[in-house]
């Protein structure tokens, strides 16, 4: 899985990392029970502070996407809690995306097809 970080984005790097890992789990690129790189290895590879990676992992753990223990490090949870619920924050974000798409003249079908693609696990740049 390729992590794509925009250094000039307003979204903090730890959140971008968290989002990318969530997308990886959703698309199946990160399988259930799969071991994640250690905080140190990932920070070194990405050229960012270990605290940033640690914060992203901590958030993912709190949200129930990954589990961590001293012996095995971080892993994707084998059973992620299925609440079948979209948070208010995500609803607002989705509304913003739909609104922007409508203003810029994007066809509704095109937008739905994009949602379909993401739903099926495809990733676009």
């Amino acid at each position: 899985m390729i992590i794509r970080i925009d250094e000039l984005s307003d979204v903090p790097i730890y959140l971008q990392l968290r989002n990318q890992i969530v997308m990886g789990i959703s698309s199946g690129e990160l399988k259930s029970g799969e071991k994640l790189p250690t905080v140190r290895d990932l920070a070194l590879e990405m050229g960012i502070n270990t605290m940033t990676v640690s914060k992203a992992y901590q958030l993912l753990k709190t949200e129930g996407y990954i589990m961590t223990d001293r012996k095995n490090g971080a892993r994707v949870r084998t059973e992620i809690k299925k609440e079948a619920y979209i948070s208010d924050a995500n609803k607002t974000e989705l509304k913003r995306i739909v609104s922007e798409a409508r203003i810029s003249g994007v066809d509704k079908q095109e937008l739905l097809s994009l949602v379909e693609t993401f739903w099926e696990g495809g990733r676009t740049e």
Binding site: M1, I2, I3, R4, I5, D6, E7, L8, S9, Q20, I21, G24, L30, L36, P37, T38, R40, D41, L42, A43, L44, E45, M46, G47, I48, N49
Partner: protein, 470 residues
């Protein structure tokens, strides 16, 4: 020593110039990932832009070729007219100028490519970095089992040299007990440790992301790192074999020709190793060029395409854009320290060149002052009290003596410092070997071999001292 020194310098510098030429100025830019340190994009290969890029490459390659040929001609001239003063300084300046000059067309090419990129509107609006999540910290090819043996062999040589200098292992040559062999071996061993440390740093460099497929990235990075680790291991063995050879020959029989041959062989093998490394590296690049689907634009972080400055990257070490191995991030605090150290080292070398030039141009002077013989050269004064002299003689043939420098100067016109002379290591030398004659002075502690600016002056000083000696 003059011609020997010139040849050693040429063997060191000229292959570097050739390697610089072939690495910085490839014949075809269309297959390269980078053009003068700027990321190659498909837009550059389109229509008129392709012609512009070709012209830039052709022009800069032509300039580099002219600089290469000019440097070769100057080297030949310097060898042929070797009887000039300030020889060491001239060669050092030559090395500095020729290598810098070879890089200049590259810097200009980098500037032109960045302007072209800007004019085409290809400047990055975002600063996107890619990381292969699955390969983070997972691709390493440097094996401890391969790195340890040459280091242990080097360490053994140091131990043997130390035991010889401590006279626990008896040897009959005059250099035993003077810690010359130990000193040389330790320097070589430290170099090996540095190479090993550098190799480990290279092995932990960020994995390049060329594809959205992690397996492709892993294979690509593994191939590149394997090439580098193979080269490092070979380099370490060549280094240790050279050290061993030098050690044995210096114990058995020291000769300038022997030294020249070993240095020559060492450098030839090293250069051959670098060429094989480059060839293999290019083969890997060519093999994976079809797999490239991800391209990271870091052009703005590369000053002249050579110096990396990225405050957003917390890594100290990054892969070089051009050349072998890695470089440091100048924006990193420790990177700044390393660059400052490099600048200081360059200033030191430059200062040394000036000092050596002054030393070479300043004649040696002997004078008698209040029952002492003063040997004066620059800021050095060797003072020999007449009372301490046991015997004094005038030698007419300096070439019949075998000098082996322990510390000090060793130039065509100056031998100054502690020397082993005819296997006697307790000697202080202060003479111009080109004059032919010398005064040999034996004291309780040391034997001096001294001479003045001219042979006549040396003879006069000898005649003047002789009546004082019983």
């Amino acid at each position: 020593m003059g011609i020997l020194f010139s040849i050693i310098i040429c063997v060191c510098i000229l292959p570097v110039l050739f390697i610089m030429f072939f690495m910085l100025y490839p014949k075809s830019w269309k297959k390269s990932k980078l053009i003068f340190g700027v990321t190659a994009r498909k837009e550059y290969a389109e229509g008129q832009t392709s012609e512009i890029v070709s012209n830039i490459c052709l022009k800069r390659r032509g300039q580099a070729l002219k600089i290469l040929i000019g440097s070769l001609i100057i080297a030949v001239v310097l060898i042929l007219f070797r009887n000039f003063i300030l020889q060491t300084t001239v060669w050092m300046i030559y090395a500095l100028i020729s290598t810098t000059a070879m890089g200049l067309p590259f810097i200009l090419g980098n500037k032109e490519m960045k302007s072209l990129k800007k004019s085409l509107g290809l400047e990055a609006g975002q600063k996107i970095t890619y990381t292969d999540f699955n390969n983070a910290g997972a691709v390493h090819t440097l094996k401890l089992s391969k790195i340890l043996p040459p280091n242990i062999t080097g360490l053994l040589i140091v131990i043997i040299a130390l035991l010889m200098d401590l006279k626990i292992i008896p040897i009959s040559t005059g250099i035993a007990g003077k810690f010359i062999c130990t000193g040389i071996s330790v320097i070589f061993l430290l170099t090996e440790f540095l190479i090993t440390a550098a190799a480990y740093i290279m092995d932990s460099l960020k994995n390049e992301v060329i594809s959205s497929d992690s397996a492709v990235n892993a294979n690509y990075n593994r191939a590149k790192k394997k090439n580098l680790s193979d080269f490092t291991v070979i380099f370490l063995w060549v280094h240790v074999i050279f050290l061993g050879g030098l050690f044995v020959t210096s114990l058995l029989y020291y000769s300038e020709i022997g030294l020249l041959i070993s240095v020559f062989a060492y450098l030839i093998i090293l250069m051959a190793g670098i060429l094989i490394f480059i060839k293999r590296d290019r083969k890997i690049e060519s093999r994976y060029s079809k797999e490239i689907t991800v391209s990271e634009d870091e052009d703005d972080y590369w000053i002249f395409g050579l110096i990396y400055y990225n405050p957003n990257n917390k890594r100290l070490n990054v892969k070089k854009r051009v050349g072998v191995g890695g470089t440091v991030n100048l924006a990193h605090p420790f990177g700044k320290v390393i660059y400052a150290f490099i600048v200081l080292m360059m200033l030191y070398v430059f200062g040394s060149m000036i000092y050596l030039g002054m030393a070479e141009a300043t004649p040696l002077k002997l004078r008698i002052s209040e029952d002492t013989l003063v040997c004066h050269h620059l800021s050095d004064d060797y003072v020999i009290d007449f009372d301490s002299i046991n015997s004094i003689s005038l030698g007419e043939d300096v070439d019949s003596l075998k000098f082996y420098k322990i510390s000090g100067f060793g130039m065509d016109n100056i031998l100054k410092g502690i020397y082993s002379v005819d296997d006697n290591a307790d000697c202080k030398v202060f003479l111009n070997p080109q004059n032919g004659n010398y005064i040999k002075i034996e004291t309780d502690e040391l034997t001096y071999y001294v001479g003045s600016e001219t042979a006549e002056e040396t003879s006069e000083i000898f005649s003047a001292i002789r009546p004082y000696i019983n």
